[in-house]
């Protein structure tokens, strides 16, 4: 950056306007650039110091949890937290992260009326939505997968069964991806409806936090069927239900014979969110 600046500053004489006849890259390049831009912005890179505070606090806490787990394991102790448990343990942190970052990615563009500048360029509405969504989901996944990898490296060096650990790690990555996709799509959809970042953040937190006690009450008061179905309605419990169905180790959630239903909801919810996002941006005009 500084080297660049020095070179540019050394040009003093006024050369006139020069036409550009170099390469013009595809829409795919523009969409990829937007994805990278969004991913960097998720962690506050290329932004002010203020924008870095929240993401890095969250990364710090999740890493600290992972570090504790790694240390306990290294000393031969037993922990309840495996690779697949980490996303659930960190789910509130991920929620806070998304409530801050999703508005940063989309509400900001709405508030600053940036969309006309994007949509008057080759990059299209679908590209925009997918790039932003991809950035958010990958960012959320990295926040979980990074610390999982930390535990793995520590365990591998500690002389644990390497292949067994690797298999567990991949299972953990899959859970992290599930959380990232489910949380990310819902958060981005909510954020895309609010142009004020604070409102968007509040709405994301509200949707998640309100569904939780409602589901808890239904589970406490309802029949066994209700207890097995209700967790689907909470984004916090849905991934654990799917985990119970696939791996049979979903903690305290009993899905009974409704496992496949959890799978279907787990696919439909993100799909519907993406569809609504696309519809929402189709309506944006200049």
């Amino acid at each position: 950056m500084s080297a660049d600046g020095a070179v540019q500053n050394s040009v003093i004489h006024d050369i006139g306007y020069q036409r550009y006849d170099g390469p013009r890259l595809s829409r795919g390049y523009a969409a990829r650039s937007l994805f990278v831009h969004g991913l960097r912005a998720s962690f506050g890179l290329g932004r002010s110091a203020k924008a870095k505070i929240f993401p890095w606090i969250i990364i710090g806490i999740v890493s600290a949890i992972a570090l504790i787990v790694a240390v306990v394991r290294a000393q031969g102790g037993e922990t309840d937290i495996g690779y697949q448990d980490l996303p659930q343990v960190a789910s509130f942190l991920i929620l806070i992260f998304l409530a801050v970052v999703a508005p940063e990615l989309v509400s900001r563009d709405l508030r600053n009326h940036l969309l006309p500048l994007y949509f008057s360029r080759p990059v299209g509405r679908v590209d925009y939505v997918l790039a932003k969504l991809g950035a958010l989901v990958v960012a959320a996944w990295l926040i979980l997968a990074g610390p999982q990898l930390l535990i793995f490296v520590a365990s591998a060096f500690g002389g644990a069964d390497f292949l067994g650990e690797l298999k567990d790690l991949l299972g953990g990555f899959a859970m992290a991806a599930m959380y990232a996709v489910l949380f990310g799509t819902v958060s981005l959809l909510i954020a895309s409806l609010a142009s004020r970042r604070a409102f968007a953040a509040g709405a994301i937190a509200a949707v998640y936090l309100i569904s939780l006690p409602v589901v808890a009450v239904v589970m406490a008061l309802g029949s066994e069927t209700a207890r097995q179905i209700a967790p689907m309605a909470s984004p916090f419990m849905l991934p654990e239900g799917i985990r119970e169905w696939i791996w049979g180790n979903g903690g305290d959630i009993d899905v009974g014979s409704y496992g496949p239903a959890y799978g279907v909801v787990g696919l439909l919810l993100p799909a519907i969110c993406v569809l609504l996002l696309l519809l929402r941006y189709r309506r944006v005009s200049l």
């Binding site: 390469p23 013009r24 600053n112 500048l117 994007y118 008057s120 360029r121 990059v123 200049l286």
Partner: protein, 305 residues
């Protein structure tokens, strides 16, 4: 080659017709697209960018159909929106670089051209400052720079002088004039202020209520169309009637009567008429035609017709 061509272009919304059978052909250069607010300028821009499909009719931008090949059109066109569209917490150079990449410029080229574009709009020294700290005039320049950064063949500027003080307006208009003449980029300037754009434009397109009022080169609008202003102390109406009877169509402009100065005889006819009616003549002067008056006559004519 015409940069913009439309044939019977119509865009009808459920309740209003925004563009009504618009047929025009625009040559390269600086083009003023003038019309009152709500005349259909914004709809026109959206159609040209391929973001809005016309109800009927045809449109070509740089020879490309934006309806079916919108991406290609948007890659070669730069657009500067009317309203604020800048992120205040971003550094100008980074923002323009980002927008260059969105237009498909490779990373390093994008950075170079962003610096260049900011230099051309006069923000070279200030380019590493946050946009939020810029004045309205500077923000307007950043908006122009992001439209210019990917070296488009056509610039669409929507009310580029909006919110600027007189000095800022002049600077912006001069800059647009330079872009059109020195940079070799065609520019469409949308404005509701005719007096402003007529100074810098090669041709004008005037629309009203979605219909084409007139599209022509500036020279052909102003040559040979001077008017004679006649002011009499009293009996203005009588004079107007008498002139009309002699085949000269006068138009009332405040206290003066304006008649087209079609040939040398007009002077004699006017003087003779005033003398016949025995009116006290205050003033008789030749006025150079402002384009605005031309449109006024057109509009009256079309209202009558």
């Amino acid at each position: 080659m015409a940069i913009i061509e439309t044939r019977s272009l119509t865009k009808a919304y459920p309740r209003v017709v925004a563009l009504d059978q618009l047929t025009l052909q625009v040559d390269p250069g600086v083009i003023g697209l003038v019309g009152a607010n709500g005349a259909g300028k914004s709809t026109m821009i959206k159609v040209l960018l391929g973001l809005l499909a016309p109800t009927s009719g045809e449109v070509r931008v740089l020879g490309i159909d934006p309806v079916t090949r919108g991406h290609e059109v948007r890659a070669r066109v730069g657009y500067m929106p009317e309203h604020d569209c800048l992120p205040p917490d971003m550094i100008a150079a980074e923002f323009v670089t980002h927008m260059a990449r969105m237009s498909g410029l490779p990373k390093t080229v994008a950075r170079e051209r962003a610096s260049e574009a900011l230099r051309h709009v006069g923000l070279y020294e200030e380019r590493y400052r946050q946009i939020g700290g810029y004045s309205t005039g500077m923000k307007q320049r950043v908006k122009l720079a992001q439209a210019l950064v990917h070296d488009p063949d056509l610039l669409l500027l929507d009310e580029p002088t909006n919110g600027l003080d007189p000095a800022g307006r002049d600077a912006m208009l001069n800059l647009i004039h330079r872009i059109g003449n020195e940079f070799g980029i065609s520019v469409v300037v949308c404005s509701h202020l005719l007096g402003e754009v007529e100074r810098i434009c090669d041709s004008l397109v005037a629309i009203e209520a979605g219909r084409l009022l007139r599209a022509d080169r500036i020279e052909s609008m102003t040559t040979g169309t001077d008017v004679l202003a006649i002011e009499v102390a009293e009996g203005t109406e009588a004079l107007a009637e008498a002139l009309a009877a002699k085949g000269i169509q006068p138009r009332l402009d405040q206290r003066a009567l304006l008649v087209p100065l079609s040939n040398e005889d007009t002077y004699d006819v006017v003087l003779r008429t005033v003398a016949d009616l025995d009116l006290p003549l205050h003033r008789l002067e030749q006025r150079h035609h402002r384009v605005a008056e031309l449109f006024a006559t057109e509009r009256e004519a079309s209202n009558v017709g």
